[in-house]
């Protein structure tokens, strides 16, 4: 009862904080039919700056971090990414009215990470003065890449199995295949290549590499860090508007997606929280880090994930997976941030 009250209090007070308020503001604008819009090239640039900021910041911390200390949460993040997709495979992908490939694409996006949501979580923790490991941004690719690869791999394997059963199928657009294990390896390679070449992951890894191998500390402190929260506020507006306008796309798809979009971020977040809590007991992973791991798990990829899916699974229906992740997954994940903070406060403490 005490915990419920604590969560409710945190949520109400957070709704007034800039990060969540801008998200809700964007939703209200879209609901009002406003013609307000942030131009696409500017939006893309803001995302790039946020990813570079998160990457460089993490890189600077990794440079000084104990690698063993980093390994436990990194493996945890990869585990969470895979687990989310497996959960999606046995729930969403088997529901009535859900095509298997659509369900896997959606589960993949929900396992992947949204840089903006992670950035929103960092901003909220910063506002509250809650500290976290500087290397958190370095966990992003572990969760993101393992989720995308697992989802695409499972979808392709299922497709292949069906193709064997019904050999004269519509096969256009899929990667040419040999037989058995050799095929899998080249498929994994292709997926990994596409994922690491995607704008988001490569911007993040570039930032990480610059943070680790160069000395960008001064430009980080004078440019990337100070602009961070302001640019994030603009991004939250755009994400709120985008979420609202994507909601309508869900009308055409099965109700299962709506259920998944509303529940999955919370369930995934709790899974991430549990893994963070385990890392806390094992290696002293911080309360703030645990909250951010939960937020990463709760978030669904809104920028780099969809084009990766479109490229890898051309038969999947974007209205289903983009509508569910951008229309429901992202706002639900951001609005759940106070929940994870309250849990951390309760289970770990300041």
């Amino acid at each position: 009862m005490d915990l419920v009250f604590e969560i409710a209090t945190t949520m109400v007070s957070q709704l007034q904080k800039p990060t969540l308020a801008f998200l809700i503001g964007g939703m209200v604008l879209a609901a009002m039919g406003s013609k307000f819009a942030v131009p696409e090239p500017v939006y893309k640039f803001i995302v790039i700056l946020l990813l570079l900021k998160v990457g460089i910041g993490a890189g600077i911390s990794v440079r000084e971090a104990d690698l063993a200390e980093l390994m436990v949460p990194a493996l945890g993040a990869a585990f969470v990414g895979i687990a989310i997709v497996l959960v999606g495979a046995v729930t969403l992908a088997r529901m009535r009215g859900v095509a298997h490939v659509d369900g896997m694409a959606t589960a993949g996006l929900f396992g992947a990470v949204s840089a903006s949501t992670l950035a929103a979580g960092m901003a909220v923790l910063d506002e509250e003065g809650i500290s976290y490991e500087g290397f958190i941004g370095a966990l992003y690719p572990f969760m993101d890449v393992s989720a995308l690869v697992t989802a695409i791999l499972l979808a392709k394997l299922a497709e292949q199995r069906r193709a064997v059963v019904a050999p004269i199928g519509i096969q256009g657009g899929t990667i040419a295949m040999g037989g058995g294990p050799a095929f899998d390896l080249s498929l994994v390679k292709t997926i990994l290549k596409d994922t690491f070449q995607s704008p988001a992951i490569s911007a993040l890894l570039l930032g990480l590499a610059l943070g680790i191998f160069a000395r960008p500390d001064s430009v980080y402190a004078s440019f990337y860090e100070p602009l961070f929260r302001g640019l994030l506020s603009v991004l939250m507006l755009v994400m709120g508007m985008e979420a609202w306008s994507r909601l309508s796309e869900l009308r055409g798809v099965a109700h299962a997606y709506i259920l998944y979009g509303l529940l999955a971020p919370v369930v995934h977040g709790l899974l991430g929280f549990a893994v963070g809590l385990a890392a806390h007991h094992l290696t002293g992973f911080s309360a703030g880090g645990t909250v951010l791991l939960a937020i990463m798990a709760a978030s669904s990829s809104d920028i780099s994930g969809p084009p990766t899916m479109r490229g890898a699974l051309p038969k999947a229906n974007p209205s289903a997976y983009v509508g569910t992740s951008t229309g429901l997954g992202t706002p639900v994940a951001i609005l759940s941030i106070p929940l994870f903070m309250a849990l951390a406060d309760h289970f770990i403490g300041g």
Copy 2:
């Protein structure tokens, strides 16, 4: 004589100040035929940030303001917006060579407000250390919306009256109409809806709402406020170039527009100044606030107004109303800022 000297001195010293100097610099660039250009998406984004800044700043002040104190200048602003359009209806719209609908569209834009001009005024006052009510930005929609609605309404009514006289007219593109008063109400509703959904008004109202209901003070102080003057300097360049290139459009239209474009900003500004002066005596409205009310009245809508007019009055000639407001109205209004400052200094004092 003393006043004239004071005005001249203020104007000369202001021409060197960044805000006006960048405007003139832009005009010189355009006059030289420079291919310099600020890309459209960036320009739009700068306007968005300025509107959010003005809105959030006003919202934060409104939160703490005495609503009664706000109401007098707000009603004054609405009155000025309506009065400017009525003055235009009996002067410009009746002049030789001016189609009634073109004259009303132009008067509507001159009654509406330019966020950039208002921002320029704020920057100039800040530079001079002249204080003003924080809620000034909240007056913007009162003047803007009442001017646009009045102008469109009068133009539509006149059109309807002519349509009754000559029933077999070219009616394509106008809103379907019933008869009498019911028509007016739905027309007003449509105009209000279009106006509140326009990018500028909705960005401003969003900022206001965020300032009032959320607590964006920290992101305002760390991002919107510090970037304000720099982005404004870029905007002044663009507006100077745009003004110069629009001037040529005026060649094709009646001379009445040139006369109106040169005189109206000053006359409207004096009207706004008089209303501000009245508010000063009634409720202690500040000297800086009076100057900004004059600047709002002098300014003409350069971003959100034109598309609203194009949508609502498709028969009006954009060369006439955009050429007059962007080519003459905006630069004359900005260059009149020192005049209003000198008047405030004379009639109200520091």
Copy 3:
């Protein structure tokens, strides 16, 4: 031996500094086939801000500078610009497989100046705490304009000479010509007009004029100066990616271009360094100023030069001149910055 060691040490330590690290990071991204991209409008705007920053900063310094002190390096800069083109005319333009007009266009770009490279040089010196004359930015147009005008003039004269020899040639797209000296004068005028109207030169001159005649010091200090290094880091990323992707264009052209692209920046930089050293002994021109003059000479125009060349010399092959200057000239010039710093340290001292 001592000097070689000094150069090597400076180069290695500089590679970790943000400016060069971001350039190399961009090259690595492109080499990895990353889909990361900074949107074109944002890229253009960043260049505009850098040019305004360099211009305004130079203008503020020129305002307080002794004009005689400025004249010696300015004439030196113009001399270097012309000399680079003349060297190109007797080397590259006469090599096997190099069309004369292509060689002249390439030499013109290598004589012209890259604002981004100059900005990178300034950032590196700032990081090292090495001071330089504030008016350095004002030298840019002297070198840039004289190089472009010389190159285009020589190419046009050679073309005209060939046209006299073979009167029935393919002449489409060139400027209509009368005969003899009158033609030259109008040609020079056209080139000068095109150059001064180009976005880069006009942005720089606008900044200069604002710095000299207005008082933009506050907006310079609060906006242009603080954003400078961060925006430059983004620009270095873009330039690194662009350089890598342009390299492939060089496959189709003569090997002479590759040789020229690798050697010319260093040779030109040494020429600029020598002129700066002479100015140091004549008028006390600083060590930092000498380094920046060398960097300007080493740099090749990557933004404003190519469109100027395309307009003036439509028969020249862009793959040759853009490929050589952007693919090799720019990265080699930026990576040579430590060389010029080591030389200045050796020959002039702190």
